[in-house]
Symmetry: C7
Subunit: 91 residues, 7 copies
């Protein structure tokens, strides 16, 4: 999904992946036990800075640290805005 939003500088907007609702062994996880997801899809990317051209692009699936970014609600959906330096890897 593409939003009409232009992140500033080296910021990236992510749509977090839905948290798993089953454990590997098939158990249903109650809501308050679901781990906050650390995987997401890039939906908007800033232009970078003089020192930091951007590496990720729209559509990339990325991993990020547990407390990275600022939560934003846009058109009813939850997103995470973070600096590219908070993104760990592209998978």
């Amino acid at each position: 999904m593409k939003l009409n939003i232009k992140p500033l500088a080296d910021r990236v907007l992510l749509e977090p992946a839905a948290a798993e609702t089953k454990t590997a062994s098939g158990l249903i996880i109650p809501d308050n036990a679901k781990e906050k997801p650390q995987k997401g899809t890039v939906v908007a990317v800033g232009k970078g800075t003089k020192d930091e051209p951007m590496t990720v692009k729209i559509g990339d699936t990325v991993l990020y640290g547990k407390y990275a970014g600022t939560e934003l609600k846009l058109e009813g959906n939850d997103y995470l805005m973070m600096r590219e330096s908070d993104i760990l890897a592209i998978i």
Copy 2:
């Protein structure tokens, strides 16, 4: 609205968007439960610095972090003064 104010360096003056007074489902939100808005309109922009030319311009609608900026009352209205680096995105 344009004010007769010149922010210094990389500072931006914003007029915060009015907080929502109804929830998505139509409930009236009492005053003390209204979330502080994180969306605003740029009303004045500094000249930037040697290292940071400005990206936003007067009239842009922008998103910013919950605790960004300094509150200022000018001619009876509430504004927020912040550095451009505290602005997350233009929408």
Copy 3:
């Protein structure tokens, strides 16, 4: 008013505007309830630094953050000495 004082580097000397003694609705504000003013007039300006030439000049009315600067009493009057980077805007 011009004082015989040369602020060093990027420092600025301000004469704070007198605090309002009436509220918008005309109530007299007792002394200990008066808000510390955040508006002042520039009375002396340093030469700037290699990295930061000065923007404000003597006579400018400026806005500054609530806790900016060091209070100084000179010839019986109260002034505020601060770095230009603590000044938010020229009005």
Copy 4:
């Protein structure tokens, strides 16, 4: 093992070595007494930064500080993502 993952910038993905389950003198170490391993094998390496070209490469066995890195579970296995500057030595 090679994973389909591209660490960003100067990050390195490590597979921690299994913790020793016997002491030097042959005693079995109960689970909660096992020291967190500080040795691992490099499984993925970022492209480095303008200032920091990468030194380690896939397959290197490295030593790292006790609290270095972020734990990641990928395809059921535990990995550690850290910056190369958190790696102490190649052995």
Copy 5:
């Protein structure tokens, strides 16, 4: 007064002005109520650094922040050693 002392780098040695012992209205101030003086005379100046040539010179009267500098007793007198960046202004 000139001392046989060479401050290093961007340091300045000041002789603090004697604290006022009367208030403006003529009251004698008891010793423990005297405000620590914030005015002093420059008695020795370092050579500056590559980045910071010195501005003050021996004999200048300067203002400084309340907690600036390190107290030194030299030949029975009290002095203050501080970096030039802790000096607010020349008066």
Copy 6:
């Protein structure tokens, strides 16, 4: 002793000198009173960084601060890994 280990960047691996077990006056020091030694022998040296070429070399006896470095056990012996900037002097 030379170990098969390559410290990264500006890191140095030291073998700490054995703690003194007698005081200057000949008293035996019980184990828990022995001061942690602050002297050691360099056993491995990194390649340095663009900004910091290395000064110490294998075999140098060096002094270091009391809490410098990370303890490492390699092949049954205790070592200390630290940055060269934590080494005080070569003796």
Copy 7:
């Protein structure tokens, strides 16, 4: 006195001056009331860094801040190792 020790980078080794054992008025100061001396003689000097060539030299008497440096015992004597930037002045 010259020691066989080479301080690294911008470090300086000082022999602290003996603490005064009499007050100005001739009173004997008991041991635990003696002020830690802040004056010393330079006994060894590092080579400086790319950014900081050294100013002090062996034999200089210097003043330093009360908590500057690391205490070292070498050949039975007490010394202080500090960075040149912790030295206030040459007297």
